[in-house]
Symmetry: C2
Subunit: 339 residues, 2 copies
DNA sequence: TTGTAAGCGTTATCAT
DNA sequence: ATGATAACGCTTACAA
């Protein structure tokens, strides 16, 4: 049959011919140089440079069933925090010659499933997901994937997948404890349900648990606006408009810093003093959070650390090692001016 | 020779066997379903679901020399702006079934070259780069790559690669014109050379050109601190410490909003009024820029639009079309409070 | 240290 | 509409 080489790119065979060795020796030159004789090595090096040869990784992966690719699904790439995890994961992997395949789910379990299905086709060395909540289809794919799966940004005892993250419930509890210690009496929680962010719901549950344990009544608020900044402002309005019989909250815990920021700017526009009239507390420690005036008190998740740790785990697995199934990385409570 | 199937994953042949057709028919089921008979289609569908079959894309790409992957190199993933381009590129491509391979260069031409070399091994459908400045090695790789290359975030008449972006020199000129129209007399430019960001240098050149055209003297300042916020504060100090014989600048144009933000916060700490005592102007329109008080006047680059346009170009190319070689996307000057 | 042969899972080509 | 066969470019297994 006629050859059907699509590109004019040189192959291993071309390099071998030019260097006067066999193809397998050129293959070894790339994968185990120490097993190639010094003068063969020199001739191969020359040929590679002359031809501008780049190994075809798809072919290599097919032959070895071992692709140097890692796939990650994040809720969104351009968000203020997941990008840090991506960055550190990418850095840790590229140092070891791995490539990163990326997709975003926008907090949609269906989109996540589509991305996972597509990724599996590349037989990646590992699959990194965000959160531990998936569709049944995703679960099925993962189970039959035959490749390591790492769930990040979350932590709960669970079976197969490796987990690297923290407890969102604990974040809710920690925020409440901080606000209570500061003397705040009526603490509300604002949670933008529009996002479909299950982890945010868990932070809210932690908040509720902590308040109930103190004998206080949780006050969850769910604004409707899809834009988080606008939703924050909306929530502030809802809380200020409470029935007069019911005393207004003196502190508000937000599911993320975008919501908190929207509320903070709205509060300032309305002439409210923060934190004297109302204290505001966030989650995420976004880039703007320390630049607001007053600066935003918040909880910083270990975004970079998660990516770094995931990269280490993957390299450990590739080396035949066995990383710990659950890695708990601490969040950091950052006390600033707003609460 | 003994089989060496590494994974237990089902293959096309397994599906074919179960569906009672040949492998090539199953291949058609995925790539051209309309060319498969209705009842064969039904049996194949059943078999695919029963086996949880996912096609091996590396094998398909090898056979067809046509991988549904696009590779992109950005200076950094977690930066405030490139993430938007990544996000829109990823969205545009994943809708068409393409995957995104990602690497970051940290403004290092060598790191870019390494990433390009690794990417080329995947024979991607297209290679998307940031800026038009590359190492000679990268140029060589690109030339012999045989795949479309798109340079983004930059624009200058040039040969092979497609370009999608804007003129950084023009950004420098536009900023100057705005500040001059506002009546500022002595306009400095702050540029953190530590970043190795060639595009920022071009913005500085545009600034210099514009001032010279007006018969004024450019006043470029290059702080040393590697941290951009700190560098902005440092630059402010340098400018305030000018010789008394030389009047202090009344406006400062920063190469990016991080620098401007650092200067803004430092100015407020020093009791300076912005913009009355000193006007500050940035570039990038980062997430915090409209939240500062005073809010930061800046120029917004078409980050999302670039990614979207790149995705369109790639799909056009894949369909055999010929996208325009140079696409100019406008920046938007955003007049806020700081200048 | 180096080579030969077979096979990885898919698609292009040609045939029916 | 469906199939047989030969590639695609590389690596494993075994041999020398």
């Amino acid at each position: 049959m006629r050859r059907r080489r699509a590109t004019a790119r040189p192959t291993l065979a071309d390099v071998a011919l030019q260097a006067g060795v066999s193809a397998i020796t050129v293959s070894r030159f790339f994968n185990a140089p120490e097993r190639v004789g010094a003068d063969a090595r020199g001739r191969i090096q020359t040929a590679v440079e002359a031809l501008n040869y780049v190994p075809n990784l798809a072919a290599g992966g097919l032959a070895s069933a071992h692709n140097k690719v890692v796939a990650m699904v994040v809720p969104n790439i351009s968000g203020p925090i997941f990008a840090h995890t991506l960055q550190s994961l990418s850095d840790g992997l590229s140092a070891a010659g791995y490539q990163l395949l990326l997709a975003s789910s926008y907090f949609s379990l269906d989109a996540e499933e589509r991305a996972v299905r597509a990724f599996l086709g590349w037989q990646p060395a590992a699959l990194v997901l965000t959160s531990r909540h998936h569709s049944p289809g995703t679960e099925r794919l993962i189970d039959s994937a035959g490749i390591p799966v790492i769930e990040t940004w979350d932590l709960a005892q669970r079976r197969t997948p490796l987990q690297i993250g923290f407890s969102h419930r604990q974040v809710g509890r920690d925020g409440v404890r901080y606000l209570v210690e500061r003397g705040y009496q009526r603490i509300a929680f604002v949670h933008n349900s529009a996002a479909g962010d299950i982890s945010a719901k868990e932070r809210c549950e932690g908040y509720s648990d902590a308040l109930k344990a103190l004998g206080r009544t949780p006050l969850p608020v769910t604004p409707k606006d899809p834009d988080p900044m606008a939703a924050g402002a909306e929530a502030l309005g809802m809380l200020r408009a409470q029935m007069p019989a019911m005393p207004r909250p003196d502190a508000v815990f937000f599911a993320n810093d975008n919501l908190a920021c929207g509320a903070l700017l709205a509060a300032l526009r309305q002439g409210l003093r923060v934190p004297q009239d109302i204290a505001l507390f966030g989650f995420g420690d976004y880039a703007f959070s320390d630049k607001l005036m007053p600066s935003l008190s918040t909880i910083r998740p270990p975004a970079r650390e998660i990516g770094h740790c995931a990269a280490q785990h993957i390299l450990t697995l590739a080396a035949g090692g066995q990383p710990p199934p659950h890695t708990s990385l601490p969040c950091e409570l950052i006390a600033r001016e707003s609460a």
